[in-house]
Amino acid sequence: MIEEKRIVLRNADNIDPEDIKDYLQAGGYRGLEKARSMRTIDLIEEVKKSGLRGRGGAAFNCGLKWSFVPPNRGATFVVCNLDEGEPGTYKDRTIVQKDPQTLLEGMAICAHAINSKQGYIYCRGEYPYVVELLNRAIGQAKEAGVLGDFDIEVRMGAGAYVCGEETALIESLEGHRGEPRFKPPFPGVEGLWGQPTVVNNVETFANLPEIVLNGGEWYAAIGAPNYTGTKVLTLTGDVKNRIFIEVPTTTTLREVVFGFGGGIKDDKKFKAVQVGGTSGGFIPEHLLDTQIDADSMRSIGATLGTGAVFVMDETRDIVDIVTRIAKFFEHESCGKCNPCREGTYRAYEIMKKINQGQAVAQDIDNLTVLGRVMEKACLCGLGQAAPSPTLTTLQHFYPEYQARLRAQ
């Protein structure tokens, strides 16, 4: 049985998250101290060497992202994405509630690497209690003088899933409607208020203190070679243990669901698991021996995404669940680009028709074509990923759709 390995959550339940003294006693801010003794170019190289990839979903190499920030371009910004809105995900909330200082330390390490004096944490509007906790943590860090001349401000979102997309998040920080920007330019070159900006997820930042302290090679030796380290997963749905765990990325889905998760509730059988949030693919039983690392997941047409693990038992109605998910995207599409605005609307319309037993085979063909167009034509990740639950369930659970078609 594979065991948890806690890097991000190393202090969880061992320290008082409300007291910076506990964090300092546990070795907190030694990573930052070491980072500040390094040249910025060496620091970025060390993070690259760790192989750390973004934990928000896109899995982009963290050090590489930092290296896009041009030197000597005036003000630069460090932005933390705490807009965790993928249904089934509660990892960033958990990380911050268990150990807020580790996030602040990670952001300050990034600030040193890109020579930034100002950080922002964009916290979703659903977590006002996390905003309060973070403000207290920042107050303590300032008082203790550990952040030096790096300042961090918390801003609260207001209930828009699309703001998890980094350019939409930046728009929202600037006080606008949270609509994604065209890329390029990427935020590393032109981000917040047109200045170079690094946007990373909470979990990405929270990995940094230990990476800097122990070295990139230490981290790269943990987990899968192409997606190193650990991943925090949150279990939900029909699994016995609805818990958060942090495991090496070589862990398989079967170990997650049946090992850590304890299997299916009420001794029912497994039907499917959706990983990475509501935009993730559905995975059937025969693919459960896949490792959770982002590349392995991609190879089976799924994603690791945020690390949400939504388990469904044998009694669950796939078509009904995917209809619900289609409604989610129809509601959360920001409306900026046509393929997503119209596409999510039509996809929901067709899914409702199938769910109500009113659809014919042609509707499924239309839904498939629509999904493929959206994957290619939508402006941002929201629209590009929205068809994934539909397309993967059509692939793995087609009989459930077929059984719903109206007799012709």
Partner: protein, 148 residues
């Protein structure tokens, strides 16, 4: 109580602070009264259309009046399979209103929401953003009684 102008003006020096200002107004009024928009436009140097555009983009901001207690029922997939539909029906029956409405005494508003990040305890509701997890329809009356 601070006036809406005083609340918004206190965010004047915060770049991009209009959303924070709207949150602050809502903490006083539960929603954004009509005069909020022109004042915010003036303070932040935007057109009224832009200020209104921001106010209506985000689901947690409302230009329509809402009750003192905003009950939000999560209907994302994990809560959906955990019986969100039954739970929302129980709240509708207990309050005598439908989703999207406010009780006549202005005490409760009932809204649907997407994931609130408490999926270890589905189904989940929030009341003024405080989460209540693993809710059973039989507990609805007890939860409502907490709102005094």
């Amino acid at each position: 109580m601070a006036t809406i102008r005083e609340i918004i003006s206190s965010f004047r020096d915060k770049p991009g602070g209009i959303i924070e200002a709207y949150h602050a107004v809502q903490r006083e009024c539960n929603f954004l009264p009509e005069e909020t928009i022109p004042i915010a436009a003036e303070v932040f140097g935007l057109s009224e259309a832009q200020a209104y555009g921001v106010a209506t983009f985000y689901s947690y901001l409302s230009v329509a009046p809402r009750g003192k207690y905003i009950i939000r029922m999560c209907e994302s997939a994990p809560c959906h399979i955990a019986g969100a539909d039954t739970l929302i029906k129980a709240f509708e029956d207990a309050l005598g209103i439908k989703v999207g409405q406010t009780t006549a005494d202005g005490k409760f508003s009932l809204e649907l929401t997407e994931c609130v990040g408490q999926c270890q305890g589905t189904p989940v509701i929030t009341i003024n953003s405080v989460p209540y997890v693993d809710l059973d329809p039989a507990q609805v009356e007890t939860v409502l009684a907490l709102c005094q």
